[in-house]
């Protein structure tokens, strides 16, 4: 396990190697938070209440969404495709450690760092703008952890799957781009998914997107409004279903990719 821990610390060190870059990264993450946050805050100002959201729950939703979005979605697996292209992946395969574990721990470092920093930044932000700090809803904590874990692994395998495209094609950024757009809209980044009209919402529940971070966020911010509408066990079932699908797909394409891999490139 020691080797995975050092991968963890190494990833952290890489961040601090470039200070200016690091600051800019934080700024970017923060700016991304501002847009939907202020948008919906302005809406709430006009209309004190809509579809089960008031000022408190909207602030709460975006606060947790910001914290958890990167925690769940952020990943280093994007560099897998380029490593496949230039053959660097061979180095990883030849080392005495699991490829999956390696990336998992790299991602973990990434996520934890981001979580701590985001928390700190938003805390400062709320203090400066005298916005009341949202409280976490501990009522359904076990469900929160359940869906959080689900989201983490789902995101991990989904990201891996996209990266494995690198085994068959040089054009990975295009599909990754589409994936990124789909996620940023459908996962709940820009607006709480349950704001959608009922029909659309019931459709989205069937896709893997809400299980990435919308559900864990809901569980910790305002679970009641969701629980009233939909059976929680059904949601859990759907989420697990997608997780299993992507788990097997990722492993399958990994094996296949390794076999057909011909180390092309320079």
């Amino acid at each position: 396990m020691g080797k995975y821990f050092s991968i963890f610390t190494l990833t952290l060190k890489e961040y601090f190697a470039y200070r200016l870059n690091f600051l800019i990264w934080r700024l970017r993450v923060f700016v991304g938070f501002l847009i939907p946050f202020f948008l919906w805050l302005t809406v709430i100002k006009e209309v004190k209440n809509f579809t089960g959201y008031d000022k408190q729950s909207i602030v709460s939703y975006f606060f947790f969404s910001h914290l958890l979005a990167y925690f769940i979605l952020g990943t280093r697996t994007v560099d897998i495709s380029s490593k496949i292209q230039n053959g660097e992946i061979i180095n990883l395969l030849l080392k005495p450690m699991s490829f999956f574990y390696y990336y998992f721990f790299r991602d973990l470092a990434d996520k934890i760092l981001n979580l701590l920093l985001s928390f700190f930044e938003v805390f400062l932000f709320f203090k400066i703008f005298s916005i009341s700090f949202p409280s976490a809803n501990f009522q359904f904590l076990p469900f929160f952890f359940l869906f959080l874990t689900l989201g983490l692994f789902l995101s991990f395998y989904l990201n891996l799957l996209i990266s494995f495209l690198g085994f068959w094609s040089t054009e990975v950024w295009a599909p990754r781009f589409i994936f990124f757009i789909l996620i940023s809209i459908l996962a709940g980044n820009f607006f709480p998914l349950d704001l959608l009209p009922k029909k659309l919402f019931s459709l989205i529940i069937l896709t893997p997107f809400p299980y990435l971070f919308f559900l864990p966020v809901k569980m910790i911010s305002s679970p009641q409004t969701l629980m009233d509408k939909i059976n929680i066990y059904f949601l859990f079932f759907m989420g697990s279903f997608w997780l299993i699908v992507f788990f097997f797909l990722a492993r399958f394409f990994w094996q296949k990719g390794l076999k057909s891999f011909s180390f092309w490139g320079r």
């Binding site: 060190k13 601090f16 190697a17 200070r19």
Partner: protein, 321 residues
């Protein structure tokens, strides 16, 4: 054509201490003296070779002469222009080729790149065609120019680079490690090309290289630079005169000779019967030869100069202080 007086260039580099906290909050910058009051002059139709170890200042010099880098202090004038100002009239008369670096657009055939250069350097149709033909002929590369650059081997790509760089008949050509990484045949081809080009177009060529072969074949004048200072500026042949105090004497012995006798000459640097090689100071040569003639039964005697590589290496070693 090129006048350089007391040129100095200092780089600011920040030093990583490895300590995480120090590197974030207390950064230390170091001044690196890349060129230290360097002076030289180069006239028309000269072919000058710059030699020096990595970090000596060769590439920095070339980049300052071509206007890429800004000198920290000193005077530089190329073709009557201060290079850094990068005036169009100046840039149109120079060319820079870097070994292993491509300015050609990867996905397109070389000929497209040449046409682009034609526009950039404002060459008229006739001149362009004539130069293209001449240059392609020297390399026998008529077929190659139609292939997309990414499909060419490194050697072929460098040939295309050269053609692209010389289409506009520059008066001064800067070559930074032009043959690096190339196979022997490509290296030969490039060297011959440079020689022919100079003969044909009477250009001034400044070349840096790690391969002494490049310099030996092409340059009559050699500038040796180390740690920002010029150690030698003169002809290639004179360097041996000036810096070499050593000769190599090799003998093919007729029969076994006692060790003590051989050692009277000196400690051999190689001894595998029947061949023995000695390294002798020039001044001692006459008496050594006399001694050999007198005391040693040999079949063959050869006296050779120190290799230029050795001379230069020693020069750098001594400059290490």
């Amino acid at each position: 054509m090129i006048f350089v007086k007391n040129l100095t260039k200092i780089y600011k580099v920040y030093r990583k201490t490895g300590n995480l906290i120090k590197d974030i909050f207390f950064r230390r910058y170091e001044d690196i003296l890349a060129l230290d009051e360097v002076s030289f002059e180069i006239s028309k139709n000269e072919l000058v070779g710059f030699i020096g170890p990595n970090g000596a200042g060769k590439t920095t010099t070339l980049k300052i002469l071509s206007g890429i880098l800004y000198p920290t202090s000193g005077k530089v004038s190329v073709l009557g222009f201060p290079p850094f100002e990068k005036k169009e009239a100046f840039l149109k008369q120079i060319s820079f080729v870097m070994g292993q670096r491509n300015q050609l657009i990867w996905d397109l055939p070389a000929i497209d790149n040449f046409l682009l250069n034609k526009e950039i350097y404002e060459l008229d149709e006739e001149k362009f065609k004539k130069n293209l033909q001449k240059l392609t002929a020297i390399f026998s590369a008529e077929k190659l120019i139609q292939k997309p650059v990414k499909m060419l081997s490194l050697g072929e790509r460098m040939k295309m680079e050269f053609i692209a760089a010389l289409l506009h008949q520059p008066k001064i050509v800067f070559l930074d490690e032009p043959t690096i990484g190339l196979d022997i045949f490509s290296q030969e081809a490039i060297r011959n090309f440079i020689k022919d080009y100079q003969k044909e177009f009477q250009a001034t060529i400044i070349l840096t290289s790690h391969y002494l072969e490049d310099v030996k074949r092409l340059a009559k004048r050699l500038i040796i630079i180390n740690r920002g200072k010029i150690l030698y500026d003169g002809s290639l042949t004179k360097i041996l005169q000036k810096f070499s105090s050593v000769k190599y004497v090799s003998l093919i012995l007729e029969k076994e000779v006692k060790k003590e006798v051989l050692f009277k000459i000196g400690k051999p640097i190689a001894y595998q019967f029947p061949k023995v090689v000695f390294r002798i100071q020039k001044k001692d040569l006459p008496q050594v030869v006399a001694f050999i003639n007198d005391q040693i039964p040999y079949l063959d005697l050869a006296i050779e100069d120190e290799k230029i590589e050795e001379v230069i290496k020693n020069l750098f070693e001594n400059h290490k202080d």
